[in-house]
Amino acid sequence: MQLEQLYQEIILDHYKKPRGRGLREPYEAQVRHVNPTCGDEVDLRVHLVDGTVADVSYEGMGCSISQASASVLHELMVGRTVTDALSRVDRFTEMISSRGEVVPDEAVLDDGIAFVGVAKYPARVKCALLSWMAFKDATVQALAAEGGAA
């Protein structure tokens, strides 16, 4: 496995120029997810409007894989319906946990396909998944809060 397949240009670009970084108002749920083995952290907020992801804002520290993956997540999810967004989280999780067996679909994951190389590095899978799991968690919490308020 060549190192270049792991650190693709797309990943390095998102790492150096993260999209949508910073915590913003308004939001319905905020979560903090940590990777206890390496100390990586992400604080992530989700803002939902009429069943659509209006914003994903985040702040965190960690390696290039974890930070770039949060940026890709932001770009991919904003503007999508919650159902669509959560199904894309599942597809990303499936790809990244497949040890390289699943060929990713660019139409579904956009820049997320760049992380296919990570699937071959088990130690880095958790880095790539950190913000995606945080997004799923926050979205479920936001939906629950919405349901509770209705």
């Binding site: 792991l6 650190y7 390496c38 100390g39 990586d40 960690g62 390696c63 290039s64 974890s66 880095r124």
Partner: protein, 435 residues
């Protein structure tokens, strides 16, 4: 190996300390000849776990092939041989750390369990009014640790203090990565029941001086525990010389196998401690009403112990003794001096901990500006260089220096200056990828 000169005025190899024949030593470690990602393996992660020489691997294989049986309960020949091997290993370890008696050496699972054993002795005693008062804790009592501890010498004491109402207090760290002793007389006071501190830091490499702390501990009548996990593998450690009460270390960092650690304790204190785990081998007699307990060390070794692991650890001790701990220490000192000098020359590299090869071991943590340690470790791995990245189970130390993680290089008897050169060159590639 390239000759290395130490800083002027520094102590040099004593004339009575034979230099290491590193190539001969390397030939004893089969793993060192393998490749990683198409490159020659450069193993710089011995503070995490050390590699094992053929002699240790062979001793364990021979035990399984010829002598395997349970210990301390069999009348048959194999049982007798296994028991002799297990107790023989205890005697080897005792001699290695200059313990007055082999019965003061308790085999545990690892250093973590050794520290927990002492913490649970305090907890058990605190629940028993008739227990030895030196182990009884309550509100107002204090335990002192340091900010440079491994989590294994933090969490057991946090739990103990939460459960007994005692207070946990901490020595700080100076900017140079040394223990801050300026508050010594306040930190260690008549309320102090125990001071537990690391001898050599697993993240900063700092080798702590203990004499002032020891004297204050004796003045106030507290107990003194040393986490020597990163010391015993690398330098001569004499438990009598340190005048400690408890010393914990682990087998797998000193060329031995995983699954075995050591608690050395002063015999008189071990005898005053309640049991840790209950079960077979640790009892004197058991009735349906109550049990009475064996004398140490058996009291603290419930169940079938790590027998083959003890044999392996014994072989590791033999190996280290044959090479000579003084020689290993000086080899690492020279190598550390070289590594510090070469790493300091890498642009953007910041070393945490002592910058000079004095009062430190061969563990060097650093930050490379703008690159997360995970990414550093990944690129180094592509070059065959194995280092540890993360918080090294010493998160308070990382917080002290304001970083979530570091890259850590740790050196041992089988490492060479050429390997340091490979590391430094690989760091150039890291900067290339992320520059």
């Amino acid at each position: 190996m390239t000759a290395t000169t130490l800083h002027e005025g520094m102590p040099d190899y004593g004339s009575d300390v034979p230099p290491l024949d590193v190539e001969r030593i390397r030939a004893d470690f089969p793993i060192l000849s393998r490749e990683v990602n198409g490159r020659r393996l450069v193993y710089l992660d011995s503070a995490n776990t050390s590699q094992k020489p053929r002699q240790v691997i062979e001793a364990m294989r021979e035990h399984f092939e010829l002598h395997n049986a349970n210990v301390a309960r069999s009348v048959h020949t194999l049982g007798t041989e296994s028991t002799a091997a297990y107790e023989g290993a205890r005697e080897k370890v005792a001699r290695f750390i200059n313990a007055p008696s082999a019965s003061e050496v308790v085999f545990t699972k690892n250093a973590t369990e050794a520290i927990n054993l002492v913490a649970y002795a305090f907890l058990g005693a605190s629940l028993d009014k008739s227990a030895d008062p030196r182990f009884r804790l309550g509100p107002g009592d204090e335990i002192v640790i340091t900010e440079m501890e491994h989590h294994s010498n933090i969490v057991p004491w946090q739990l103990l203090c939460e459960r007994t109402g005692a207070t946990l207090r901490w020595f700080g760290i100076t900017d140079n990565g040394r223990l801050d002793e300026s508050t010594l007389d306040d930190l260690i006071n008549p309320r102090t029941k125990l001071v537990s501190m690391v001898l050599v830091s697993n993240i900063l490499g700092t080798a702590n001086a203990t004499s002032r702390i020891h004297d204050r501990i004796r003045e106030v009548g507290a107990l003194f525990m040393l986490d020597a996990s990163q010391a015993v593998p690398h330098r001569p450690v004499d438990v009598v010389g340190y005048d400690a009460d408890f010393v914990a270390f682990t087998g797998h960092k000193m060329l031995g196998p995983t699954g075995i650690g050591v608690l050395w304790g002063r015999g008189e204190l071990l005898a005053a401690m309640p049991p840790f785990l209950g079960g077979g081998s640790m009892i004197e007699t058991v009735t349906m009403e109550r049990s009475t307990f064996a004398s140490p060390p058996a009291r603290f070794e419930a169940g079938t112990p790590p027998i083959a692991e003890a044999v392996g650890l014994g072989a590791a001790v033999d190996y280290l003794t044959a090479v000579g701990m003084e020689s290993i220490m000086w080899h690492e000192k020279a190598l550390t001096a070289y590594a510090l000098q070469e790493l300091r020359a890498v642009p953007g590299l910041r070393i945490f901990g002592p910058q000079v090869p004095v009062g430190r071991g061969g563990t060097i943590s650093f930050d490379l500006a703008g690159v997360h340690p995970h990414d550093v470790g990944q690129v180094l791995d592509a070059e065959g260089v194995q280092v540890r990245v993360g918080h090294h189970c010493a998160r308070p130390t990382c917080m002290r220096f304001g970083v979530p993680a570091t890259t850590r290089v740790s050196l041992y008897l089988y490492n060479t200056t050429e390997e340091v050169d490979v590391l430094v060159k690989a760091l150039d590639r890291v900067r290339g990828v992320f520059g």
